[in-house]
Symmetry: D2
Subunit: 339 residues, 4 copies
Amino acid sequence: MIIVVRPGATKDQVQQILEKLDQCHLKAHVSEGSERLIIGVIGDKSRLAPGALELLPAVEKLVPIMESYKLASRAFRPEGTSFEIKGISVGADELTMMAGPCAVESEEQVDQVASVVSSCGARFLRGGAYKPRTTPYSFQGLEKEGLKILRRVADRYNLLVISEITSENDIDYASEYVDVIQIGARNAQNFRLLSAVGKSKIPVMLKRGIAETIDEWLGSVEYVMSEGNYKIIMCERGIRTFETSTRSTLDISAIPVLKAKTHLPVIVDPSHASGKAQYVRSLSLAAIAAGADGLIVEVHPNPMCALSDAAQQITPKDYQALSKEIASIARIINRKYPD
Amino acid sequence: MIIVVRPGATKDQVQQILEKLDQCHLKAHVSEGSERLIIGVIGDKSRLAPGALELLPAVEKLVPIMESYKLASRAFRPEGTSFEIKGISVGADELTMMAGPCAVESEEQVDQVASVVSSCGARFLRGGAYKPRTTPYSFQGLEKEGLKILRRVADRYNLLVISEITSENDIDYASEYVDVIQIGARNAQNFRLLSAVGKSKIPVMLKRGIAETIDEWLGSVEYVMSEGNYKIIMCERGIRTFETSTRSTLDISAIPVLKAKTHLPVIVDPSHASGKAQYVRSLSLAAIAAGADGLIVEVHPNPMCALSDAAQQITPKDYQALSKEIASIARIINRKYPD
Amino acid sequence: MIIVVRPGATKDQVQQILEKLDQCHLKAHVSEGSERLIIGVIGDKSRLAPGALELLPAVEKLVPIMESYKLASRAFRPEGTSFEIKGISVGADELTMMAGPCAVESEEQVDQVASVVSSCGARFLRGGAYKPRTTPYSFQGLEKEGLKILRRVADRYNLLVISEITSENDIDYASEYVDVIQIGARNAQNFRLLSAVGKSKIPVMLKRGIAETIDEWLGSVEYVMSEGNYKIIMCERGIRTFETSTRSTLDISAIPVLKAKTHLPVIVDPSHASGKAQYVRSLSLAAIAAGADGLIVEVHPNPMCALSDAAQQITPKDYQALSKEIASIARIINRKYPD
Amino acid sequence: MIIVVRPGATKDQVQQILEKLDQCHLKAHVSEGSERLIIGVIGDKSRLAPGALELLPAVEKLVPIMESYKLASRAFRPEGTSFEIKGISVGADELTMMAGPCAVESEEQVDQVASVVSSCGARFLRGGAYKPRTTPYSFQGLEKEGLKILRRVADRYNLLVISEITSENDIDYASEYVDVIQIGARNAQNFRLLSAVGKSKIPVMLKRGIAETIDEWLGSVEYVMSEGNYKIIMCERGIRTFETSTRSTLDISAIPVLKAKTHLPVIVDPSHASGKAQYVRSLSLAAIAAGADGLIVEVHPNPMCALSDAAQQITPKDYQALSKEIASIARIINRKYPD
């Protein structure tokens, strides 16, 4: 950390900074610039309360040098992370394709989707059982019954199950049925849930919060990793901006930025990002071309009759067509598309 | 809801819309504009899956007419809501002043603050016991012990206690010690927590999510109200924007907007909004002048030694000075400042 | 346009709305919903001052049905627009590749770039002569001399010239040297400049304003088109959001959204969007995969010595490698890459 | 400026940085931290191209220490700036009240407003003659005739005139009729216009761009000041955010932030910020309470018949009531309200 000293600060005021640092067992490294006095701070900064130095009259500003995340940082594993979930590898050469309906509505509905997507590359079956809805009057999901349906159908087609939970109290139950727990955008900074999922050691997909910076998102990842759970997939699903022609704005740049900042696999959710089925194809191709490790796509046998987010779900037929194009792009950028 | 029909849609395609509405027992009201065909939809729209109509080829766009919240709407109680908590009224003429340290650190620390703020208008003692921090390596709060300290000190000075909880599992415990449960910005759309707090019937202060629109925030309020808990205080604490000279951007307009949209009391948190003690005075005066029903201000006996958010906490002495100015502004806009 | 009437409005208040419409020679179409009274408005709405109806006590809200742009709308030319500039077609099957340095610094510098990029698909040479810089103390461009250099070098390699102008007073001069005038993000709503460029009839590339919605951007396009200039290229270059790890956030979704809303060609500027050379490749591939009609990329023979925006310029060698990957992606999505 | 060196950088790579600095005649100050090597850079950084250092492999990030504006900085005039325009002082104890219609429509209309606002504290008459409208099909203003009307009416009531111009070509003409030139939000980074206004030496009010950070805004101010024009009023008029219940989000915190960062007077435009007359009172009181040096308020004799922005204009009667409340608040915060 670097302290920039206010011009005109008195010697006594500068001394006050040095004493404060000394109290906290931090070393100071003073250097006289042409326009400002600069103090480099060396040692364990966690001894300083966040914000404490800013209150000293001589402090113009503080400049952090280090990120606040460690385990999530690229430096921790420069070669990148890949891991296996029941024999399916994530983060390696092969793209990770996840597909399924927004919400689990019935075994028949899920089966219709699974039979198609499993035949064209998807290895994970998604489906919402606990649905966080912006109004209490909307369909809230089949909950436990939904998880059971997902498991039965997934087993039928040799798929793994990913599903969202919204409370630490559901982890034990969910872990009997799902292979990857999803933490949704609205719980992206629900640190209690993150810690609990960290302790559980179940693989987790952590969506970006709707207004979370990439650094804050890596801070959320750190909550899970610091509990010893390293099987984490990051999922970019769009951020909130002023633009309203899509539900969120897919931050496509987050893909190369994350590749530079962290070692973890990154996948993209084009369905929630756009909120509109007609844009899913473009965003999917873009995500893979930009270097994403996979996609999670909402597919419904009959979107018009869906009980939630109908407008953003594509048909199994569209998914088939999309998977062919993705496979072609994968080849160009030296990724494998699952057979 | 109104359906705008795409120009060039065929009769069959329009018929398809009408049939879909009929299936859902909704009445259609077709009207020919100069440039577009418009279909008004009458009846209970919850029968339609969100997004389903958008998928029909003839639908250009849907226009909602009604908000998705009902109990939170101004129309539900046009005269406004005020309620009492242990004899202290909120939302009435008298401003509601809440103050206390960011985090509870020790009984002595809390006492030093409480002794001052209780003598200049504060009726609620705030203090964080469960701290949601962006990194797992920061001070996480004294938890249960923190709540006990708050209670003891509050009783000593005849104050009520408000404190944040971050999990539905803490409600029972917390409700033994606190008078108002605070739901923080990061849990603003943690619907499980909102429902649980709704069932508990304890008064709740619901902060705005960092990127929550006012309508979404009222949707969060609806989650609490729909469980039968009507004692809700809304707390504007700044939203995320591109501007970085303050931590968040206080949405001062939210005050008159909420006064028009909802009947609930609205208070403002200038400390979290700005993140800097030096701006707390300006934002506090502005909030009261704009019509807020009160403030929640962070006060620390020695901000420089605070264990969290040091930079945004003001001293008891500053709070005294601030309270005098607020009392003067209160008079001008016909509000009472608590003696 | 649709008027939603406030619940509880009196008959007289509703009558007031109808009279106001009648005064403006607009027809009203009243329909009783289950929860609200709705008034459809038919006729030429330009007779109403924007905002006038909102002031009537019975008006809850107004809902526009039509976009405010006409010539820019997809409906105006459903088949899409392509046009030729000196024999080079834009908006057709072949991708439009533009490349060159951020700022023109010397003839040698421009030549080094042009010799490479012209040999791998670029048809347009870009280069800033008038540089809008955020501080008056930065290099402001070679101005007229810069345009002359661009022209000479472009002619040498059979390229067309695109360059930004920042004042209506420069159009005449610039049009002697450039084939396409670029309007930059900071002038995206400089309507005087837009009108003047419209009158000039020179092909124009209009960048999106840094916080311009897609609909507002189409409004800016309409300014140019309404003066009779239809040769317009739209250029997505990133929008301002809360995320700071890239300079702007490339709105990749804008590509399919624009393809639905307008008939005009759309290209992408990955250099300004990211602000960092290391991300240019990912964003370029993503843009083409998402359906963009081309790219404008900053290339400098020696980025480290550049006089402006050094960090975002790639080397001629990197451009060569990039062009091969783009050509491969083009094939998959049925676009031609220029030989 | 400080250079943070990437962990694992080789000695040669660090040497490369030092050589680059040496070439640019900059001094380097290397210091070894516990986790990173840090290089302080001393000297005139304008010799370095922006971005050049970031391209060196050993550079992790650059940290600017100084702002890019100088004349606009508080340090340049710690005591604050106030100046007189034809005997009316701006930025001193007395609040600066500006009022008038959104657009000049007729002499009668302007007179009706001026007669009232001049009698309750306004010293400046505002009115749009050149209107930047988002669509070319809207009323564009009376232009030159509008300026003449403003002048005649202003002289009648002993008011000064402020009006927006949108092109450098209008400065000479406008300066015959107006006392303060307004640069609007859409031209906030039209640097050609800013320089031209700087050269003109006419007092200027510079509105904040819709997505301009405070630091960028001060960069725009610097363009004007660096040409020798120091009579500048800054006008906060709301920024673009995700919230849509107001047209823009008034950044109330900008007031105390600007008071810390610059010496220039700051006024607030509650009319454009909110876009709705019903919120103008709250925002006006908040702005003054927060420390603004004045207000610019849109007032129309008959808002419902206004030719532009009808919804945000208040009536002369409302302005009278508002001015009384402002005068009361002014007293509390030790400002004078003009008699």
